[in-house]
Symmetry: C2
Subunit: 107 residues, 2 copies
Amino acid sequence: MGLTKTQIFNTRQNQLAIIFKVLAHPARIAILQYISNQKECICNDIVDEIGLAQPTISQHLKELKSIELIQGEIEGKKVCYCINLKKWKEVQVLLNTFFDQTKFNCC
Amino acid sequence: MGLTKTQIFNTRQNQLAIIFKVLAHPARIAILQYISNQKECICNDIVDEIGLAQPTISQHLKELKSIELIQGEIEGKKVCYCINLKKWKEVQVLLNTFFDQTKFNCC
DNA sequence: ATTTATTATCGTAATATTGCAATATAAAAA
DNA sequence: TTTTTATATTGCAATATTACGATAATAAAT
């Protein structure tokens, strides 16, 4: 096994799980925090800041891009990574909806 | 490798990542939704509801318990699992703080 | 006391994730 | 054109996660 049985869950449940999974790494949390506080957010600066190898950071950035939480704008040989504010807020609403929809009937 | 370098991140970043990781599975999302909408939240009912084997559900419940999102009360040979409302709200606040603290200086 | 019912734990196979060296790609600088 | 700089991709080793059969543990029912 080792394979999540996504087919037995609904779209919303799988969507939430994917979002949580992308956020489930301290490096990706740190990258998001760093990007959001910089005026110039260049990949190479992130490598210096975080302390992981360049390919590792590149891979984490790819995962953050996969759910569009960040977007990269090519500027010559550099890439400026930025928070996708629209998606960021959408995700926050989605997570809050999940937390608010629990009804606590039990115990 | 395959081992997350937690030591290079701060406590808050690691704490957030752990919470996100616990929530990063559709079965655990489904379990939380199911528990929160039942008056009687018995482990065996969860097994019937979700469609994964009993040991698998038991393992997922253990992970949810590990960050105290749920608590289990033994009732004879059954166990009543409930949302830990205090922790639930704490986690929601923690996640919202993370989302609100991004400042979007860039781009 | 034995059986039945409910949940937890162990062991293990399959798959996923993490991290990095090596290398590729692409654009600017020399 | 060659070199340098910045980022992405590939390939791989180490570790983690997912799922489940087998089994243990515990309490109720017979």
